[in-house]
């Protein structure tokens, strides 16, 4: 019946890139041989709608069987049967061109499955898509008017069972407004209010006090990363804040009027709005419950995206979440995606006259999955097939105790607050390398906990929901199907054997999708090795290196001290050390605020230093300071890059003469340059902006542009968040001995982290002072140069 009814029909589908949408399009193309589909898809930020369809839909593994059966004819068939219109259900008129609007509205059936399904979407975007989306489609179809045969297309709108709200007992297949629990909300008022909230939040986020806050948050995360990076981060923080406000607004508004979340709330109002404004358009609504991986079609276990139950289950398997709230005898209303798709297609096939106005697709009333069954099966399965931690040890899953939601939340909140506190302490300490990695690990752990807490808050309600969704209409449709339909479009929830489904279909599939470790032992080639291999590939172009704490454990103050004290006698040295120690806190705080200001201030000390003397002394600097404090693994890496034919470039705020000894390692050295006075002394003033912060990114970009090399193929090594602009500019950033902030960023973004150390056993001079010269030597020098110290010392 279904195939025949849909034979030769043109069916428009919205939300085709989503979970249900992809399965739906595939099913139509695979099981209804002669139908055509029109896909309404949004233009991506960089990819056009048609390209998105090719990449995100046709390349999905759902299409594997269709590709296999069509063979080389696949592309041509898709070309013939699928047309794409670029549009957006979140915009009035769906954002379609006139021509596309006609194509769209002239279809026989329009299946609207686009939705903002995220359970924590901001209220206003949920309103635009879920509430107004269906209504906009009806509006457009009405505006274009009846088709050539005088009829309007059949609009099949996908909604959710949860529009029924938080309630116990049977939820029938009727509009909420028709039921006894309706509180008479006006959808128009909600729309206005949601838009108003967006405006308010945007305005509030721009108040000076808030902006100040975003800025200081950005600074504490990035440190002295330079103005552009800071600005970008600040704006990101602001946008995130606005989003959080609106997510929170959605959640509270939904809760206040009896829905579990903004999704169900806006969907419920959407049904009502559609009902009121549909005009001449015949409308059928299909309401699935919680949609999970496929039972059989397109393949058992097929799933798209990481959805609601999966993250919770995986968190449990990873030992992250050892409890999840819920009542053991409660029903978890789960329905495989292929049953939902079959139901939608069946409704479409029945047509406006025969299809029920509302069809619920759920399992709770006919074939309930008890929470205990789910939990037992999950636990047993993971006991048998454990996930392995990074050390290759199996993770033992906890026994489920069915605690209340409040208890779990409290436990998680407590754990989070402990971690947040220790994190703050760690961040305040000047850590580097391995210690900084602990701190980054803590941050990870906190992220995990935050997510777990979010799951509990968001989904806890669903496991506690005790409504039973009746499926009388669905079963009635099922009764009307012939034998062929029943095998090709099985929509009967009673066919699912839950234990089998969970342990042989669903869990293996989500474990595969979540890319967790399922084999014991340490992986032979870990992530860092893989990244290192990518970096040490002859195809790369440039390797840029920071100097201090990246290649050597020293800084500009040390090289200055070394040079300045080289010609001093003992009492002068003591005075020098005391003065420097007194100044140290001041210098440090200056360095933290802005590196180039610090360098300018600090380098003024070189004023009056004779160029000739500095050059002579700098030669010794390579052995006495740079090599002594070098990280051999770092220098080896520079050489490896050179051996591979990469250009190597050193970008440092150190004075050029101090790093002269490193020249053979680099094709280019960009360092601070000081102007020289006619009398052969240094002026103490820098010739140009010292290469720090964003200047480094620019220097590197200019170098690449001038040499015809590509930044995306380049590598940057640095140790501090102030180097973020440079690290972000290249394709292969490497954090070396990162301080806490950079360690956290590197971890989040999956950058390679190297911990390079000084050679064990090497000399560790306590103070960076030049070796004492014999008196005779000093005399010789002072006679020749006429002075033996720089301005700041005399």
């Amino acid at each position: 019946m279904i195939s025949e009814n849909l034979h030769g029909k043109r069916i428009a589908v919205t939300g085709a890139t989503g979970f249900v949408g992809t399965a739906l399009v595939e099913r139509l193309l695979f099981s209804v041989p002669d139908c055509e589909v029109v896909l309404l898809v949004r233009n991506g930020r960089r990819t056009a709608a048609a390209e998105r369809v090719r990449r995100e839909i046709f390349k999905n593994d759902a299409f594997d069987r269709l590709r296999a059966s069509l063979g080389p004819a696949f592309d041509a068939t898709m070309q013939r049967r699928v047309s794409v219109v670029a549009g957006d259900v979140g915009t009035d008129g769906l954002g379609l061109s006139d021509e596309d609007a006609k194509t769209f509205a002239s279809c026989d059936t329009i299946i609207h499955s686009a939705a903002s399904v995220s359970f924590d979407s901001p209220l206003d975007s949920a309103v635009e898509v879920n509430l107004l989306g269906p209504m906009r489609i009806a509006e457009l179809v009405n505006r274009i008017g009846p088709r050539a045969n005088g009829t309007f297309p059949h609009l099949v709108a996908v909604s959710t069972c949860y529009v029924a709200g938080n309630r116990r007992g049977t939820a029938p297949e009727q509009l909420v407004s028709a039921g006894p629990f309706d509180i008479g909300l006006n959808w128009k008022t909600e729309v206005t209010a949601a838009r108003r909230l967006r405006g308010d939040a945007e305005a509030a986020s721009r108040m000076p006090s808030e902006l100040q806050k975003f800025r200081s948050e950005a600074r504490s995360e990035l440190g002295a990363a330079g103005a552009p990076a800071l600005a970008e981060k600040t704006e990101q923080n602001r946008e995130r804040w606005v989003k959080d406000q609106l997510v929170e607004a959605g959640r509270s508004r939904a809760a206040s009027v009896g829905w579990p979340d903004a999704y169900a709330f806006t969907k419920a109002l959407g049904e009502q709005a559609l009902h009121e404004t549909k005009g001449a358009v015949p409308v059928s609504i299909v309401r699935p419950s919680i949609i999970e991986s496929a039972l059989a079609e397109p393949s058992p276990g097929w799933i798209r995206g990481f959805r609601m139950a999966e993250p919770v289950i995986i968190s449990y398997a990873r030992g992250l979440l050892d409890q999840f709230p819920g009542v053991p005898e409660g029903t978890v209303d789960v329905i495989p995606v292929d049953i939902v798709v079959a139901a939608i297609i069946a409704v479409a096939a029945l047509g406006p006259e025969d299809a029920p106005h509302i069809t619920q697709v759920a399992s709770g009333s006919t074939n309930p999955l008890k929470y205990r069954t789910l939990v037992d099966n999950v636990r047993d399965w993971f006991t048998e097939h454990p996930i392995y931690d990074s050390e290759g040890q199996p993770i033992v899953v906890a026994d489920w105790k069915f605690p209340g939601r409040g208890k779990v939340e409290k436990q998680l909140t407590r754990a989070k607050s402990i971690i947040t506190k220790s994190e703050k302490v760690l961040q305040a300490l000047p850590l580097r390398g391995n210690q900084a990695t602990w701190s980054a690990k803590l941050e990870d752990k906190r992220g995990d906990l935050e997510r777990a807490l979010e799951y509990v808050e968001l989904y806890g309600l669903y496991t506690e929901c005790e409504a039973i969704y009746s499926v009388d209409n669905l079963l009635a449709i099922n009764d009307r199907l012939d034998a062929h339909d029943r095998s090709a479009f099985c929509l009967d929830p009673r066919v699912v054997d839950w234990p089998t489904y969970i342990s042989t279909i669903h869990l293996p599939s989500i474990v595969l999708h979540s890319r967790v470790k399922t084999t014991p032992g340490k992986s032979t080639l870990d992530r860092s090795d893989r990244l290192r291999k990518q970096i040490l590939d002859p195809k790369r172009h440039v390797a840029a290196f920071d100097l201090e704490n990246t290649l050597i454990s020293s800084n500009v103050v040390e090289s200055y001290s070394w040079l300045a004290t080289r010609r001093l006698n003992s009492p002068e040295r003591v005075r020098y050390v005391l003065r420097t120690m007194k100044e140290a806190p001041n210098l440090l705080s200056m360095d933290r605020k802005d590196r180039s200001d610090f360098l300018r201030y600090f380098y003024r000390r070189y004023e009056d230093a004779p160029v000739e003397q500095i050059e002579e002394d700098s030669r010794e600097l390579l052995a006495q300071l740079i090599m002594t404090k070098s990280f051999p693994a770092g220098l080896r890496r520079v050489r490896e890059h050179r051996a591979l034919g990469h250009r190597t470039i050193l970008i440092t705020g150190a004075m050029s003469f101090a790093v002269e000894g490193l020249r053979p390692l680099f094709d280019e050295i960009v360092a601070a340059e000081m102007t020289i006075r006619p009398d052969g002394t240094y002026s103490g003033e820098l010739a140009k902006v010292p290469p720090t912060g964003e200047t480094r990114a620019q220097v590197l970009a200019e170098y690449c542009a001038a040499e015809g090399l590509r930044l995306e193929e380049s590598i940057a090594y640095a140790d501090s968040s102030s180097d973020l602009p440079m690290l972000e500019a290249v394709g292969f950033p490497v954090a070396v001995n990162p301080e806490t902030r950079l360690a956290a960023i590197a971890r989040k973004r999956g950058w390679l982290v190297e911990n390079w150390e000084k050679s064990p056993g090497g000399p560790r001079p306590r103070l960076p002072l030049g070796p004492m010269m014999s008196e005779r030597e000093q005399k010789r020098f002072s006679v020749r140069n006429g002075r033996n110290s720089y301005r700041s010392l005399s």
Binding site: R619, L622, A623, Q624, M627, T628, K629, S630, P632, A633, L635, R636, R639, G661, P664, L665, K758, S759, P760, G761, G762, P763, R764, R776, R780
Partner: protein
């Protein structure tokens, strides 16, 4: 009259024997009835009038005219001297080189020679620091020459200042310091601490370049040098002698001054280190106890500093000058007289206590590669006749063998350890696969020329020194070494001497014969 060297058969009444362990030592009980300990001869009496002896040698050279007769105004005179690798430990001031150089300079001044260059013949070793140069040549010489740029160090990577002299009949390139080659007279001031030093090796190795050195510093030559301490059975020396011939034929005139030292190695508080254990006095026992206890609590870095500040009371036992080969024959006799110990028969297990120092880590760290070189390159080769350990036998060394490296002195060693040894420990394989890359590396050359780094190829040479031992022995065990590091070297780690003997037992059986080389002080076993 000093007592000659001595081989002790260990019996039940033998006290535990002193083993060096880097910057520390331990006492080990060796199994009675099948162990023996070889002790060096006691220090020979020194020449009392050192300056007189030097003057006498310069005025009465062997197979050459007296030095003053070879000096004339307007001539180019070059004095080359052995670098910081000799002697070990450094000798108390004044260094013998200072005395000889001062004597030569006096004669040069009398003869009106004013074009004098003094060159440290360091081959591919690290440059000496100012303090080290001052120690070797004395402040007077240093201050007179260094500021004018006429006291300097040989630079084997300065093509401008190398002179190519041709090849030997074996096709070996001969290239030495240009100034030395072009001088009217090259005076070489040597210290012959062991029989390997001196002779043509002074000039043909000390003043040459990689191009020249690679012909005798390679696994093939090293394996066929049996041993380095026996010039006539040493391929290394034969090659150097062939090169010496090329020098002579090209008109390089060498006036060789060789000196020998006695084995008075340690100053008074450490005197017990050179004593035979059963002769330790209560005060020696106390010093031993106190120093091991203290050293156990001392950070390694500090312990190294303490040990490297030791200056040996070495004294000169002979000085001879003149023709290189003739002089060296006499020198070798003197060295043997001080160091030779007669030993009957080989042993299953050779035990070696590795000290804190080798020629290549003065004021530095005895890194794992130098531990290998010290045990398998030097101590193993302290023989005449045949090796102390039988073919297929086992060497047990005691040393902490931490993965510690001096970042300034040994940068290429660090990479060698991480890169080359991770790939292979076979000298032949590494010489073919890796040597060239390290030898020609620009960065290592830069560090060798401008800082105080050994040449890039140097760690290979250190490894090659042990080639013969690696081939000869079936197992090398290091007691007390860092296990990971020891395994990287291709050796077996053991925590105690008993464990080591147990580990050795599947190669040499349950009742192997054991020989301990009680060095330093140094000795050469004459094995028959």
């Amino acid at each position: 009259m000093p007592r000659p060297g001595f081989v002790l058969e260990v019996d039940k009444s033998t006290p535990p024997i002193l083993f060096w362990r880097g910057e520390n030592f331990s006492l080990e009980k060796l199994p009675a009835g099948r162990s023996r300990v070889i002790y060096a001869p006691e220090p020979l009496p020194a020449i009392e009038d050192v300056d007189g002896a030097i003057r006498h040698a310069l005025l009465n050279p062997i197979e050459q005219d007296p030095l003053p007769e070879q000096l004339f105004p307007g001539m180019k005179l070059t004095i080359a001297f052995d670098d910081v690798s000799l002697p070990l430990p450094k000798m108390q001031r004044p260094d013998i080189r200072q005395r000889v150089i001062e004597a030569v300079l006096d004669m040069a001044a009398e003869a009106g020679v004013d074009d004098v260059h003094i060159i440290s013949a360091l081959a591919l070793h690290r440059r000496m620091t100012e303090a080290e140069l001052r120690h070797a040549v004395g402040d007077r010489v240093y201050d007179a020459f260094a500021p004018r740029g006429t006291l300097y160090q040989h630079d084997a990577e300065d093509p401008e200042n190398l002179s190519y002299l041709g090849t030997t009949p074996h096709g070996e390139d001969v290239e030495i310091n240009k100034r030395a080659a072009e001088s009217d007279l090259l005076v070489y001031v040597n210290i012959n601490l062991v029989a390997m030093d001196g002779g043509w090796k002074s000039t043909a190795t000390g003043l040459s370049s990689y191009k020249s050195l690679r012909h005798h510093h390679n696994p093939e030559t090293m394996i066929h040098s049996r041993s380095f301490m026996d010039q006539h059975r040493s391929e290394l020396h034969k090659s150097n002698w062939r090169m010496g011939k090329v020098l002579l034929d090209s008109g390089v005139k060498v006036f060789q001054i060789e000196t020998t030292l006695n084995t008075d190695t340690f100053p008074s508080p450490f005197g017990f280190l050179a004593k035979r254990e059963w002769e330790w006095k209560p005060s020696d026992r106390m010093t031993f106890l106190a120093s091991t206890k203290a050293l156990n609590r001392t950070p390694t870095r500090l312990a190294r500093k303490i040990f490297h500040s030791i200056e040996a009371p070495h004294q000169m036992t002979s000085v001879q000058a003149g023709d290189v080969e003739a002089v060296h024959r006499i020198t070798t006799e003197h060295v043997y007289k001080q160091q030779l110990v007669e030993v009957k028969g080989q042993t299953d297990i050779l035990t070696l206590g590795i000290p804190y120092i080798s020629p290549y880590n003065v004021h530095s760290i005895l890194n794992p590669i130098l531990v290998m070189c010290m045990g398998l390159g030097y101590y193993f080769n302290m023989y005449k006749g045949m090796p102390l350990v039988r073919e297929g036998g086992v060497i047990i060394m005691t040393h902490p063998t931490q993965p510690d490296f001096h970042p300034v002195h040994h940068p290429s060693y660090i990479d060698f350890f991480e890169q080359v040894l991770a790939d292979t420990t076979d000298p032949k394989v590494m010489s073919q696969k890796w040597e060239k890359q390290y030898a020609e590396d620009e960065w290592y050359k830069h560090l060798y020329r401008t800082t105080y780094a050994y040449h890039g190829v140097h760690p290979f040479y250190m490894w090659y020194w042990g080639s013969h031992a690696l081939q000869h022995c079936s197992r090398i065990i290091i007691v007390g070494g860092d296990p990971k590091t020891v395994r990287r070297l291709g050796f077996v780690p053991a925590s105690t001497m008993d464990d080591a003997l147990e580990i050795a037992s599947d190669v040499v059986g349950r009742a192997p014969t054991i020989t301990h080389l009680h060095a330093p002080p140094l000795m050469v076993a004459d094995v028959s």
